[in-house]
Symmetry: C2
Amino acid sequence: MNGSPLGTSVPRKEDRRLVTGRGRFVGDLQLPRMRHVAFVRSPVAHARIVSLDAGPAREAGYRVFTQADLGGIVLRAQSALPSYVETGQPALAEGKVRFAGEPVAAVVAADRYRAEDGAELVDVDYATLPPVTVAWDAGAAAVHDEAPDNVLLERTFDAGDVDGVLAGAHLTVERELVTNRHAGNPMECRAGVALFDPADRRLTFWSGTQVPHLVRNMIAELLGLSEGNVRVVAPDVGGGFGVKAVLYPEDVALCAIALQLPGTPVKWVEDRVEHLAAATHARDHRYLLTAGFAADGTLLALRADVTCNVGAYSVYPWTAGIEPLMAGGLLTGPYKLEHYRATVRGVATNTAPSGPYRGVARPASVFAMETLLDDAAARLGMTGVDIRRRNVIRPEDIPYRMPSRLVDDSGHYDECLTKALDAVGYDELRAEQQRRRGTGESPIGIGFACYNELTGLGRAASAGPRMPFRTGHDACTVRVNPDGRVTVFSGVTSQGQGLETTVAQIVADALGVRYDDVDVRIGDTDASLWGFGAFSSRQAVIGGGAAHRSALAARSKVLRLAAGLLEVDPADLQIEDGVVAVVGSPDTTIGLPEVARVAYLESNRLPDGIEPGLEATEFYDPVRGAFAAGAQVAAVEVDRTTGAVRILRYACVEDAGRAMHPQIVDGQIAGSIAQGIGGALYEHLVYDADGNLSTGTLLDYLMPTSAEIPELTIGHVARPAANPLGVRGVGEGGTLGPNAVLAGAVSDALGVRIDELPLSPSVVWTAARRAAEDAGKTPVEPGGRHSD
Amino acid sequence: MNGSPLGTSVPRKEDRRLVTGRGRFVGDLQLPRMRHVAFVRSPVAHARIVSLDAGPAREAGYRVFTQADLGGIVLRAQSALPSYVETGQPALAEGKVRFAGEPVAAVVAADRYRAEDGAELVDVDYATLPPVTVAWDAGAAAVHDEAPDNVLLERTFDAGDVDGVLAGAHLTVERELVTNRHAGNPMECRAGVALFDPADRRLTFWSGTQVPHLVRNMIAELLGLSEGNVRVVAPDVGGGFGVKAVLYPEDVALCAIALQLPGTPVKWVEDRVEHLAAATHARDHRYLLTAGFAADGTLLALRADVTCNVGAYSVYPWTAGIEPLMAGGLLTGPYKLEHYRATVRGVATNTAPSGPYRGVARPASVFAMETLLDDAAARLGMTGVDIRRRNVIRPEDIPYRMPSRLVDDSGHYDECLTKALDAVGYDELRAEQQRRRGTGESPIGIGFACYNELTGLGRAASAGPRMPFRTGHDACTVRVNPDGRVTVFSGVTSQGQGLETTVAQIVADALGVRYDDVDVRIGDTDASLWGFGAFSSRQAVIGGGAAHRSALAARSKVLRLAAGLLEVDPADLQIEDGVVAVVGSPDTTIGLPEVARVAYLESNRLPDGIEPGLEATEFYDPVRGAFAAGAQVAAVEVDRTTGAVRILRYACVEDAGRAMHPQIVDGQIAGSIAQGIGGALYEHLVYDADGNLSTGTLLDYLMPTSAEIPELTIGHVARPAANPLGVRGVGEGGTLGPNAVLAGAVSDALGVRIDELPLSPSVVWTAARRAAEDAGKTPVEPGGRHSD
């Protein structure tokens, strides 16, 4: 390849192994003398553990570990937020269980089958306690003694004079909206192999994690090891979506077991039943909203009360604040607003812990905000398009300080919306909607969402969660080997996003070498200096920025060394495809292999003042973040008889900044929309009143397949962000729209409010019936006013 | 521990695993699906391969690889020396075999036993050719077509007017001396495991090598891989002594086989018979010497003709020059001399290749030089002590340019000798020697050697071998982890020398942290940027220097960061035991854990202008070398009836510079003396006239045990060298003395010349008989003149 590979869809580095079936997932790892772990899990949601008898299992030859055997390790997620109630999550339950599926003991055997058999021999006697599964269920029993009212955290965002402005508003809209609990459900469930080498007290933990360096530090601290003696390797990982950005009690238990079985690798690969029951859930929220609008549709004030179901434990290390704080900070989205008061809270229940999941809270909060706008538009006789255009932040408003004090640096929402409307053929759809009216044909509806996605947060922007760390920077090492080829040791990790490729593109571009001559190593804490990991759509911006800076630093040394060898000024040199040439005298060249050879092997030829070696390590911290703008528009057809929703058109236009690899960018957007559609239409984790998960398998928990996902039209408003690569994060934006867009479209088709998700056949059928009943009383035009 | 650990014998880091049986040698490595390799080896010294039939072995289910199957890989050691004749060493012999034991084919099976069985099924038909085993056997058949006279390299060192000065000298001494072929024979033989991952074309080669980075580069080049995709791991290695500083055809074959069996680890652990037959040998030299002396014993001129047996191949990558060039460059040792002409040559024979072995050539050349001095002293009526004192380089001569143009920077030879004489009780020994004279008791004799050992060669000093690389520098990375503990990624390797310990001491000292808080990773090309490896007693000087510089760079960043946090000037800060304190106000402190925490996790607290992270990578190149001075003195008792030599006293005093870990330094000296004693008294690789190795097992090839090694008195003249740590290399010096000291002592005891080594019972008995016969003709006083 000639020229820079940046901006083109080069073949992905990882695909050579992935498409040939040679991926290296944790489950593929085979080690001599490996043993397998099965967890004994609580069958009840809330109970006192009266007794735990491992005797029969031990007598049958199994190694059994209880919380006491592991030394009573407790994960305590910390936050500096004043209202935060710190609670502990034991590696294995002790005394009490707090959700169905909670690990209570671990059994080790020669293979997983036998370990499961052994787990059945562990006899646990539970005295059940009343469970709480609904976060807004006042007066429920306490999940943790530390929080008698189950509120683990509450915070109020307050800006302007909300009550005064609401009182004087032309229109106020009140809504109560409830979103459906669902989960990331990556194709690969959680998995880990832990091996402790007693010779030097080194622990290696192969883990399908999104945050290897953080896991290293947390494991070291929890187990009393030196961080430098804990190596976390995240090899190929089959999807993460935030679910794997958590340190789980199972992870800690696995490592603690390894410490007790020195020299023996212990492996645990989660099955789907475990995953649905015990990996983190998300999006189980209730929004109580009152918004005030001017007659022209201008949003004047918003009062919100947001309750998020934290589940049984404050997720480690992100805390119970992860969803409520994000919901409160970004509820107003890309809409200008001065008067804002939102009280958000995280409430403990006897359900699986909630954690980060692609889009963190915003698929729910965008649904809430967009529903308000649709409602107001209907009442004001405006279109959904007009009310959004009236309120969005515009390029001339940038930088725009949101009422939560976050600063939006995008502003291209109207342009995104306009392009998305064009993409779906908005006018034609409206005409078709009109045509069907009064016919027996299924009605169609159109829905909209605009959203801003906070990506690549630097040290100044990531203050929100008040964690004991500030996730601002990543590191990267660019090493030109003695043969002139390049190995990059990057702090990023990948769960399928193609980071090996992106980092290689960035380095090839900045250093001036061929893409094929760059190899990238990621996901290994021994190999890379530092990376916070994959979350908040941060890696392309921050890990990419670190790769860029490191490559420029390496390039600078290449040029100085080459200049000395060629006896010219470094400023007169350029590098392309690994050849250093004098600008304006293209025959005077020196290849990178020769420069590298001198650097390592022929130090006698080193120009004065130049040290041997050809490697650079740099950090990058964008200080602030880079907002990615987006708009989605969809049209659906609703079958009134069955409640089925068919998506006719779906368009998404984002300002993801510069696209370094257009195919990957579009793949990220498409995948996140697909996941959002799953959440909007199908996925629902339902607990019964006893706290049992009714949707505990993929027979009950519905996930979309490619058959359910429509053709997506993806467009771009690619405005370079204010960072060296001009990029914005792109992994999450797509998930933010579908709830709002599809609920809005169904609402538009039927002319009724939608107050809950998912848009399951029963919800839609019920809404359609209500619409039919209402139609007898108050005619409602699709695209016009809602019924009350 | 408080204060610096440098200079004290702290517990060795590696001993925790080594003394608990948890060492990780290549042989310990178990991997899933591992296969084992046995080599088919030539049973004859020199032959045409008429045919090689792998059919029967393949039909029996074995994988068999021949040179053609491996693509005809040939190792071609390169040198810029004009006289050098480049020859090739095939990975597996093709067409011709050149020594008994040469690998001809490789057989792969599920275990080594079956692989050996398979090897027996490979049918090779040899047409024998006349072998040559003695390098000074004129008119022998050609080993390589490229060198009809078998001379692979010849060089003359020429300084002053040798012939003129010799002609006018008061005394000329002529000697022909022959030294015995022996080998490093580490406790762990050679071993390797190679695994090729086809997913990303990465090869991992676990190898008991002393030079992992060089092996990486060489393997990558020979197999057409990217260097960054070849990882060489030298885990615990059970002794090297230079024998493992070579890239062997077996290594290359093993890696090439791995490439053909993707995903399958292939293992080869050499047995002792293979090791003695096919690992490198050394010290098979002949010295023809003429020296001129003044009446006062001053050495005036030296003419030398040195022939070294190269064996069948020019050792890769060091070339046939490794022994002859070292012999010629350092023959004059620590003695001042202006007029010097030495012609040295490396001659191919049908024996195992010669390679680097502890002390490279100098155990032989020191024997030659010291024999000359003893001879001259006897003829001039001087003592061995006096003639050495007359000629040694003295502190006031430093820097002293030797006639070979090497520059000696030590000069403390007289002091070393004096201390060694004191240590053995020289006067008392002389009295005892006198007392026994005329009694029936066994005679005793005293021998001496002074030597200089060129260590830690920088880019300017390592020009000698004219290799395609210049072995001047090593790299080191010092990483302060977020918990404030330190991990060091050093380019050094260890074969038992305790480098993990030494590097940790250096870093703890320079950075100001506790020794226990420093972990060191070595021997892994993926983990460390660069190291040339373990040879030429270079690692303490160069790898140690790199560790020192990196630690100082890390310390500088710690101080800048701490200064910002404490709001003081960095110059006012000191670090001790991981606590940064303000000088003069000891209560104002900040711990390294907090500083590190800010660097990685709380970037919002980073002082302006300070990047995140706390890591430094630095190189060190001493530019020149650091000579280590040494003197050894021993007294022996010779049994005239049996020829047995009993060592009564043995003292060695060295100027090894600053001793960073006195126990390790003394251990290195003791071990190298023991190895030298083995070479002087026992070890002899004997080829018969057909080129068969007569001493092919440890029943025939005698190695000393602790029972054979006397109590050693080790003393020091520790003058800091001119490098940041003030150290000189210490691994090889001890081996330089024993040949000379023990031959001199036997000669002194019996009053006869010793012209050959080892001092086996037969050699000594023969000498004793000659002495008895001579005694009838010419009375010889022990400690006085030799008989002719």
